[in-house]
Structures are given as structure tokens and as C-alpha cells.
């Protein structure tokens, strides 16, 4: 593992479900909870909307970590969306690991609209884990449009 510049902060792309995790993030803000400013949130209608391609593209275009956050299983606004999400990403997490991507870089969490504190804690923890790994160099680049 590379030694990391202490000032370096990771860039985390967070796909947050509109009905739960996005509201959870909002609650963390309203509650003035502090957490590292490392996450860029992309609001999605349901965690089931998150295509594996989004995750891999995020890494390719410069994310050091990717978070998919949705409602707790059983609480999906569309009843079953996140059950499919769960299967899809259980599988993809393992496939990414198999390709050599460190597991900490891709995480899925269930965060409800009431769990502002959990949102802050997840981002803090993920930031620390990725900070220890350093900038992501795997799957990076390949396109000429952002370099």
C-alpha cells in the first residue's frame, strides 16, 4: 500500500436514494453534524436505479470510492427495488474484489431518512478507510474527455 499524503482527501461519489438516504444526508446537514466533505451526492429515485455501469464509470472518471445508499430492505418506496439492488451489488462487490479493487472502495449502506447520524458516520468511516488506501489508480482513465 502506498504511503499517503496526510492532506490528501478522497473523492467519494454517493448514489443516494431520494426517499431515504438523500433525506438522511439532508438531516445530517440540518442537524449540523460534521463529517468530511469528501462525498459528492447524486440523487437517484431508488437504489434500484443504480446501474453497475454508473459505479464503474465513477471509478473510471476519478472517484476514489463509491457509495450506494438506499432504504432499509423492506422499506423501499417502491416496495422491492432495493431487494434487487442487494442481489446485484452483493455480486458486483465480489466481482470488483476479484478484479483487484479493494473492498473498502465500493460500499453499499442502508440509511433511512431518520438516520442523519448514520449517514455522517458512514461517510466518516469510508473516508478514513479510503484515506488509508490512498488515491485510486485502478480502472482509471481510458477516455480522453476529462483528462
Amino acid at each position: 500500500m502506498s504511503s499517503v499524503d496526510a492532506d490528501w482527501k478522497p473523492l467519494i461519489v454517493g448514489f443516494c436514494c431520494n426517499w431515504c438516504s438523500y433525506a438522511g444526508a439532508d438531516l445530517a446537514g440540518i442537524g449540523r453534524m460534521s463529517y468530511p466533505a469528501t462525498i459528492r451526492i447524486i440523487r437517484v429515485p431508488c437504489s434500484g436505479r443504480v446501474n453497475p455501469h454508473f459505479v464503474i464509470r465513477a471509478f473510471q472518471k476519478g472517484a476514489d470510492g463509491v457509495l450506494v445508499a438506499g432504504c432499509h430492505p423492506g422499506d423501499c418506496h417502491y416496495s422491492t427495488g432495493n431487494f434487487y439492488t442487494r442481489r446485484r451489488y452483493l455480486l458486483m462487490q465480489r466481482l470488483l474484489e476479484y478484479m483487484g479493487i479493494e473492498p473498502a472502495r465500493f460500499q453499499v449502506r442502508w440509511i433511512s431518512a431518520a438516520e442523519g447520524a448514520k449517514f455522517a458516520q458512514v461517510v466518516t468511516q469510508m473516508t478514513e478507510e479510503i484515506q488509508a488506501l490512498g488515491p485510486n489508480k485502478k480502472l482509471r482513465g481510458g477516455c480522453t474527455c476529462n483528462e
Binding site: 455501469h53 451489488y89 452483493l90 455480486l91 474484489e97 476479484y98 483487484g100 482513465g141 481510458g142 477516455c143
Partner: protein, 318 residues
């Protein structure tokens, strides 16, 4: 072999005469000893072109999908893995089962030409059946071997050499189905650390030229409009380099997850020798571990693991 060939020609002729099939899909002898490519028999007078030997490796499922727009019924000869490929495509609505007549061939396993070359040299090779194996004659002389010594790896691991779901099955002897651990190679890779695994795949995938042969041949890749062919939105940049190749493989294997039948066609079609079955097998292993035992292509009405869920699925996401 010769008996099976005769039988195929005869049955194809009969079925076409009876009107059960308007054309037939099988294999014919190619220009090289190691090739028996697919052939379409358009009328009964052409059935002599059909052959059965140990190089009828090409999976006919995708060829059949391409022929779906033709009028009438298509007869197809199928090995175990062809039948699974066709069941798969029927499951996805990509093949109309009523437009197909499947004639099964119990499969002994197919030959890996590279294994033969290693034994008797690279050049003109003749292969003759013996009582208990094969005689190979090549530039380096003659060798007597068992079929398993030169069979394709995927055949050594084949669990269904008997074709399933056919309209009829020709008489013959299939190899013994494999019952051991089909994921050994995957486990070996899983033992490595993240960086080592990354390097392994980076080296392999840096050779990919994104010819998409692996996709085109795959009976689990049947989208009429593939994401990799779209330019709006542009899901993948055109340049052939490591990152784009990695994105391609990760996404392709997510798309075939729970649908791959382990026919090994992707690896066979790959001109760059990339060990794609190690990716296919990884995904298959995880589908089985996470969501329970499942083999794709056994039943044309199967429920696909990623198209369904169980509220009690494992959950490591908290």
C-alpha cells in the same frame, strides 16, 4: 463418429421431408483439421455436408437466434451445451421454441487443438478413433491418447453432456458428467491479494482488442442493441486501453451473471487468449454461494437469480 454422422444426415433428410424442419443447422468439415464450423442445410440434397467429429465445438445457439426471422421451422443438432444455450435464449424470448426442432447428440466432449499440437506438433494432423481412445498423427510422429488428455477444459468440467429439452435424441454415448469442484481456478485467484489480482487481470485484459467476439458468440449476451454499441449515451469510450477493457469486462460479466451457461465460447472465440472463463466461473460461483444452487439453461422457464430476490437474502451491507 461416422455412425453419428450418417445418422445425422439421415435424420435431417427425413425431418425435412416430413416437414418438421425447413432447414437444418449443424456442423461441416472446415478447411483445417481442427475446424468443424456451423453449416446451414437449406435443402435435403445438402445433408451430406453435415458431419459429427470432435471439433463440433461451436455453440449453435446464437446462430439459431440470428435465424429467428426466417419463415418456418429450423432443425438444430445440439450437444449438451448447445441445448443449454438454446434453453437460455428461449427463456429470454430471443428464440421461439415453436419454431425450432431440436435433435440432441449425447456428447463425448470436444478436442482442444492446442493440446493436440503440443503432443504431435503444429502442422497437418490426422486423428483416428481407437477402441479406447485416439491416435494422433502429426509432424512429431504418432501418439495414442485418451480423449480426456486432449479435451477442452470446459468439457472436462462439463456437468451436462446429455442435451436437455430436445424433441428427440440420437443414440450415442455421452461422457461421464463431471461432479467435482468446477471453481478450482477461481479459488486459486481468490487466494491472492488485491494488488496481485489486479495485476493479473490488468496483464490479461491489456491485450483485449475489443473485437466483441466474446459477446457476439455468447448465448447469454442476446440484446439486440448492446450498451457497448450505443453512442447516446456513450457508455464506453472507443479507445482500446486497459481501463476501457476493464469496464467492458466488468459490465459484460455483470450482464451475464446468472445467465452464463459455462459453454466456454467466449474464451474459444477470443483471438487474444484471454482466460474469460475465469471471470464467467467467478460470477457463477458467487451466484451459487449467495443465492442458492443454480445452473442456467437447464429449464426454459427458469427464474433468473438477478431477476428475482428473496427477502431473506444474505446482507452484508448493514
Amino acid at each position: 463418429m461416422q455412425r453419428m454422422t450418417d445418422n445425422m444426415r439421415k435424420r435431417a433428410g427425413e425431418l425435412m421431408a416430413e416437414g418438421k424442419a425447413d432447414r437444418f443447422l449443424g456442423w461441416e468439415k472446415g478447411s483445417f483439421w481442427w475446424q468443424s464450423p456451423p453449416v446451414e442445410i437449406k435443402e435435403a440434397s445438402q445433408t451430406e455436408r453435415l458431419i459429427w467429429d470432435l471439433f463440433c465445438t461451436a455453440n449453435l445457439a446464437k446462430y439459431l437466434q440470428q435465424m429467428q426471422s426466417l419463415e418456418g421451422k429450423t432443425g438444430v443438432f445440439v450437444k449438451g451445451c448447445d441445448a443449454r444455450g438454446i434453453n437460455r435464449l428461449v427463456r429470454d424470448g430471443a428464440i421461439d421454441r415453436d419454431k425450432v426442432y431440436l435433435v440432441g447428440i449425447p456428447c463425448p466432449g470436444m478436442i482442444d487443438p492446442d493440446k493436440v499440437r503440443e503432443l504431435v506438433g503444429d502442422g497437418q494432423v490426422t486423428i483416428a478413433p481407437l477402441e479406447d481412445g485416439l491416435s494422433l498423427q502429426g509432424p512429431l510422429g504418432e501418439r495414442k491418447v485418451t480423449l480426456d488428455e486432449v479435451a477442452l477444459d470446459k468439457c472436462l468440467l462439463c456437468r451436462h453432456p446429455e442435451p436437455l429439452g430436445c424433441d428427440e435424441v440420437l443414440e450415442g454415448k455421452a461422457r461421464e458428467p463431471f461432479t467435482g469442484d468446477i471453481y478450482e481456478e477461481v479459488r486459486e485467484l481468490e487466494e491472492l491479494g488485491s494488488d496481485e489480482r489486479y495485476d493479473y487481470w490488468a496483464e490479461e485484459l491489456s491485450r483485449c482488442i475489443r473485437c466483441y467476439a466474446c459477446r457476439n458468440v455468447c448465448p447469454a449476451c442476446n440484446c439486440v442493441k448492446c450498451v457497448f454499441d450505443m453512442d447516446q449515451p456513450n457508455w464506453l469510450d472507443g479507445a482500446t486501453n486497459l481501463a476501457n477493457n476493464q469496464v467492458y469486462q466488468l459490465i459484460r460479466f455483470m450482464h451475464v451473471a446468472g445467465r452464463c451457461i459455462d459453454c466456454g465460447e467466449c474464451e474459444r472465440a477470443c483471438p487474444m487468449g484471454i482466460p474469460l472463463r475465469k471471470l464467467a466461473a467467478k460470477v457463477d460461483k458467487d451466484v451459487n454461494e449467495l443465492f442458492g444452487p443454480f445452473e442456467a439453461g437447464l429449464d426454459p422457464e427458469e427464474k433468473l437469480p438477478l431477476g428475482t430476490f428473496d427477502p431473506n437474502d444474505p446482507d452484508s451491507f448493514e
